[in-house]
């Protein structure tokens, strides 16, 4: 996984953490499938016990955003064709944790 920045400061892979002025503990990111934004798919936020906390559909750009609490979380991405990816992240108040997730459909 490379950590090279790619447009809007989002990493090409991995995690980047920046400060935000809202004071919220934000986890956001983008999902790509085969190198292109995943326009159909879902991001689920699970807490450190693996319990479901929230879910959003991916945006047109494959993006998602959660307002979490400080702590450790797992972001689970679901996309067509049985594609699935889990990423663990840490969130902090006043910080935005940015993830880049790439998925491959099972069997493709």
């Amino acid at each position: 996984m490379s950590a090279e920045p790619q447009g809007c400061g989002a990493p090409a892979g991995g995690v980047a953490v920046t400060e935000n002025s809202s004071g919220e503990a934000i986890i956001e990111g983008t999902v790509t499938a085969g190198g292109a934004p995943a326009r159909v798919g879902y991001a689920r936020l699970l807490n450190s016990d693996g319990e479901f906390v929230a879910e959003v559909p991916l945006g047109e750009d494959g993006g998602f955003r959660f307002f979490a609490a400080p702590g450790d979380w797992t972001v689970r991405v679901l996309a067509p064709g049985g594609a699935r990816a889990d990423e663990t992240v840490t969130a902090d108040r006043g910080h935005t944790t940015t993830l880049a997730v790439s998925v491959t459909a099972a069997g493709s």
Partner: protein
């Protein structure tokens, strides 16, 4: 009541979406999802604009519901199939709402929009033309709807099921993590409530778990006393409509109410007891 009386799967919808007498309705909080693409022949209902009173915090009244369904071209004897995003939260809410106003012939698409999308099934942008009807609703069936005084009186008496996430239940968060953290004045939960997050009733793809798994979840694991009446709540009553559907429609519990005031009302009431932490 069996599962097939209240749920349909995606294959059934594909086979029947053109049938006369069957009306597909997509219900969302964010109706731009419908505008970008929806199941063929589906009409849309906006959870907020169409189902909530624009001034008071309450539902549209019986006459308003009649006007809404008439305008959407829905007749009293139509079979209404509801589906939506957010794992069918708002579709389950609409299901409960349709039942509240006496529409018996209504079912949910299992897995909702998510399962449909993950299956890569077809979505269209054409909006169907449906002739206006003269829908007749009934008075609200308040045996399905709980109000605040009843909820306070139910503490320690009835099953209270808080279906929010563990962090909302314990007081760590005030809203689901995909929403800004605002709303109620205080965090926590109603004393004696059991925390059974709605999500435990669903698979990752949004479909409901089996009846056996569900019975185990609420009975053996959460310790609900099925001989008692139950009130389900969440933050604004949409996730708890999903749990109401599970308990009342899938598991056949006789007396289950949804408290649509939920935490945004209870957590702002003066003087009511609140419990913090993981619950007992």
């Amino acid at each position: 009541m069996t599962r097939s009386d209240v749920l349909v799967d995606a294959d059934w919808v594909e086979a029947h979406l053109g049938d006369p007498g069957v009306v597909l309705v997509e219900v969302d909080e964010d109706t731009s999802a419908y505008d970008k693409g929806h199941i063929a022949n589906a009409v849309k209902i906006d959870w907020k604009k169409d189902l909530q009173d624009p001034v008071r915090r309450d539902f549209v009244d019986r006459h308003g519901f009649e006007e809404l369904l008439s305008a959407r071209g829905i007749s009293n004897d139509d079979l209404v199939i509801l589906y939506g995003g957010n794992n069918n939260w708002f579709a389950a809410y609409a299901y409960w709402y349709f039942r509240l106003y006496g529409h018996a012939n209504v079912r949910l698409l299992d897995g909702g929009r998510k399962k449909w999308e993950l299956d890569s099934r077809d979505l269209v942008t054409e909006v169907p033309e449906r002739a206006k009807t003269s829908y007749q609703a009934k008075d609200q069936d308040t045996s399905l709807r709980a109000f605040r005084d009843e909820v306070v009186a139910a503490i320690g008496q009835r099953n209270l099921v808080d279906v929010r996430s563990p962090d909302e239940f314990s007081g760590k968060l005030l809203a689901p993590a995909h929403l800004p953290q605002e709303q109620a004045q205080r965090a926590g939960h109603i004393p004696t409530a059991k925390n059974v997050p709605w999500s435990k009733a669903a698979n990752d793809d949004g479909t409901f778990k089996s009846d056996d798994d569900l019975r185990k979840l609420y009975g053996d694991e959460a310790g609900l006393d099925f001989s008692k009446d139950t009130i389900a709540y969440c933050r604004i009553g949409e996730r708890s409509a999903h749990t109401w559907f599970v308990l009342h429609e899938l598991l056949g519990q006789a007396h289950v109410k949804n408290y649509d005031g939920s935490w945004t009302e209870y957590g702002s009431l003066v003087g009511v007891p609140i419990e913090l932490g993981a619950g007992r």
